[in-house]
Amino acid sequence: MQMSDAPVIATHRLVKTFGSTRALDGLDLEVTPGEVHGFLGPNGAGKSTTMRVLLGLLRADGGTVRVLGGDPWADAVSLHARLAYVPGDVELWPNMTGGEAIDLLARLRGTLDRGRRDELCERFDLDPTKKARTYSKGNRQKVALISALTSDVELLLLDEPTAGLDPLMEAVFQETIGEAKAAGRTVLLSSHILAQVEALADRISIVRQGRVVETGSLSELRHMTRTTVVAQTDQPAHGLDRVGGVHDLTEQDGQVRFQVDGDRVDQVVRALAPLGVRSLVAHPPTLEQLLMRHYGDEGTAQDVSGQNVSGQNVSGQNSREQAVPR
């Protein structure tokens, strides 16, 4: 197999419209070989639409798309032999058992590895003899996941793959994605579960209103946003807001609280030191805080902080209050 650095997925100014709705509005996405790429964004941002364009189920109205070096619309079949897809809302054939559905999809993709299939059924605790219509939502999701994970493919397209899985199964899922990564597979993972993305993703793209508004590794993204600092100093610290990169400074009972741009932390700490620091707490932005900058409308972002995002343990009350720097 030719292992090059050419991106596995590359879209450039991708546009997809549904009548008057612009679902994708110049989306640039790049996923490099072997990485797990987190794909985040608010409801209706265009994540599923992107996935369906990448599968060649929808035709792009503008821009370019390459998947595994091919055009997903024209080369759909040959590309599909090399990828597997898990939709977020799995519908199964009501009269087939879960086992049959797993086998069916895996065989359609290529060959079926019985041993691996049975092992995954065991790990995900799925009874494959039940008729699909009797499965709970989480179990339907497992059927699609197991089928995708049994296939020996280069790329996994996962659209909210664990919606409905219990925490135990979530852990199994993270394990299996780790194994997929170790096996050199590339994963595009769309998810609303931030803890999952934080644990798995090498890089993240945040999409909003059909555009990628931020992309990079978590630490790069953190660097680009502000850190919250709470400090107690011997001397009053109000002069600090003259230092470049400091925002929203408040002072109360000898305690200052402010935010500092990711690339200015060094200068600020230097400015703080002469004042006699008695205590210092710095919260790097959580993924939630990163996202909150992009989710919702600019003006109302403050109102939604901390409430719309689930699945993430916010590190403390303070950071929740200051979730939205801008």
Binding site: S78, P87, L108
Partner: protein
């Protein structure tokens, strides 16, 4: 809320009602259903009205004076004619109104039954299957509210149909009593089948199975009535065993008896009662029978395009196939009864048909009738592709190595093979039954030819549905069923309705030789088969170009 609760203390008001009201919310649901069907229901009722207007206008064209009707009467009075119309009351002194009641009103009853089956399925089981009913029931709505609202909706619609049909018949100059009977017959037949469907939707979790079961009852009623009316003018015992026969037994404009309508009313009440009982015993979304376990592994053939197609089409093929084959066999077994009935015909009519001519005509009619049903099966089977796409399962299937060409081609080929199989087996079983009762083994070949000779017509309908699926999937259901309706109309009524030529030429079956009345003609057979293949290629071409699951 009653007045007494309104004046109660605040704490009393918080209390739940002592007896949960299983009909709570019916009014809201009814208004909601009326709004959802604000186009469909007026269209159905208008269609029934249009049918009455068209017939009353067309009859003077067919026979300029009522005396001229005498020459057209054999269409209805000979046994095969009675099969697909009714008991043919009062045809010894035909008038326009009697002609209307004998030849055309039975189709008003049939259409009202179809309308009610679809209406009830749409508002009950489809809602449950999609999970929308769950959203509704989670509010202040009772267990029976949805069913009650649906049946009220059916009542309103059928009442409207009764009034429209009766009023238009009267305005065409037909006698008021008879017209009222035709109107009431239409509405009450509709209600009886609304009740029957209310029962079948309790039995199966799947709306298609539920509608199919109600459709099977309708089909069986049609066959029983057909055989009963064929046996004797005015009907026989069998005619009274079929709900479709009761409205015709009122003999509008001849005997004008209302009593048979009571049977329809009684059937409605009984089935509705039964439906409420059954609904009280089952869970929301569930059928009456629990799901069984199955195999943990798929058979290897399931992982191929044709294996998947066969699996998806299996249920539909089985249901339709068994129904059609049974119908054909029963019809075949009545061949001797037909010949006996023919001997009682007046001499003038015997000249027209002759004994062997009568049997040939019957065989040709069965071939056409069954072929139209098989065409309906083909259109039905193609609808599964829409369901696959709408549910998102097609996304999953097409995200594998399966190409769109192999997916669609496999599905169409499996349906085509199924249609051919139904045609061949029905031809064989009908032929065997007919040969058995008449002792004339030559009829076996005739029946087989009458069925298989029309197969290209079925294939063309299938190909048209496929083309629609490939290019404009939204139109596949309406246009597909319109084509089937057209074929039925032309096959059964080309002579009766005095249809315009352009309409007749639209039906593919008319272009094929009608065995055994005509000699086999190879060229239309081959041309239509070739066109079907080309149609499938065109369908695949379109399907490769269009997007998947976009509204």
């Amino acid at each position: 809320m009653t007045g007494s609760t309104a004046v109660a203390t605040p704490t009393r008001r918080q209390e739940l009602p002592a007896r949960p009201n299983s009909l709570a919310g019916t009014g809201v649901l009814l208004r909601f259903s009326l709004r959802r069907d604000r186009i469909k229901l007026p269209a159905w009722v208008g269609g029934l009205g249009l049918f009455v207007v068209y017939i009353s206008a067309a009859l003077p064209q067919l026979a300029p004076t009522e005396e001229d009707l005498d020459s057209v009467v054999p269409l209805f009075t000979q046994p095969v004619g009675r099969m697909f119309t009714g008991p043919a009351f009062g045809m010894e002194a035909p008038t326009y109104e009697r002609f209307f009641a004998a030849g055309y009103a039975p189709y008003l009853y049939l259409l009202a039954a179809l309308m009610s089956i679809m209406l009830v399925t749409r508002h009950t089981r489809v809602e449950e299957q999609t999970g929308r009913a769950e959203l509704v029931r989670a509010n202040v709505t009772g267990r029976h509210a949805a069913l009650a609202a649906t049946l009220l909706l059916a009542t309103i619609t059928n009442l409207l149909a009764s009034v429209v049909v009766a009023a238009l018949a009267i305005s065409a100059g037909f006698a008021p009593t008879g017209s009222a009977l035709v109107g009431l017959g239409t509405g009450l037949t509709g209600m009886a089948f609304a009740g029957i469907t209310a029962v079948t939707v309790q039995l199966s979790e799947h709306s298609r199975t539920a509608a199919g079961a109600a459709g099977a009852v309708l089909g069986a009623s049609f066959v029983v009535r057909a055989l009963g009316d064929m046996t004797a003018t005015g009907g026989s015992t069998l005619s009274w065993l079929s709900p479709l026969g009761w409205a015709a037994q009122t003999a509008p404009y001849v005997h004008d008896r209302a009593a048979p309508l009571l049977l329809l009313a009684a059937l409605t009440v009984a089935t509705v009662f039964c439906a409420y009982l059954l609904q009280g015993r089952r869970d929301l979304g569930a059928g009456l029978f629990p799901a069984r376990r199955g195999t943990a592994h798929a058979h290897p053939w399931l992982g191929t395009p044709s294996g998947l197609a066969a699996r998806l089409q299996r249920g539909g093929l089985l249901g339709w196939g068994v129904g059609i084959i049974a119908l054909g066999t029963v019809d075949g077994a009545f061949a001797q009864a037909l010949l006996d009935a023919g001997e009682d015909m007046p001499p003038a009519m015997q000249d027209m048909f002759g004994t062997s001519g009568l049997l040939d005509g019957y065989v040709a009619f069965l071939g056409s009738f069954v072929s139209v049903l098989i065409a309906a099966y083909a259109v039905f089977a193609m609808q599964t592709l829409r369901a696959e796409e709408g549910s998102g399962r097609l996304d999953a299937v097409l995200s594998t190595r399966m190409s769109r060409t192999s997916y669609l081609a496999a599905q169409v080929c499996v349906v085509a093979a199924g249609a051919a199989l139904i045609s061949a087996v029905t031809g064989l079983s009908t032929g065997l039954a007919a040969a058995g009762v008449t002792g004339d083994w030559a009829v076996l070949g005739d029946v087989g030819g009458a069925h298989l000779g029309l197969l290209p017509g079925v294939l063309i309908v299938l190909a048209l549905a496929a083309v629609l699926y490939g290019w404009v999937p939204r139109l596949m259901a309406p246009l597909g069923w319109a084509i089937v309706a057209l074929c039925a109309l032309v096959t059964l009524f080309a002579d009766l309705l005095d249809l315009p030529d352009w309409l007749v030429t639209l039906s593919p079956f008319g272009h094929l030789a009608e065995l055994p009345l005509e000699a086999f003609a190879a060229s239309p057979f081959l041309v239509l088969t070739g066109l079907s293949v080309a149609g499938v290629a065109l369908a695949v071409f379109g399907f490769r170009r269009r997007q998947v699951n976009v509204v």
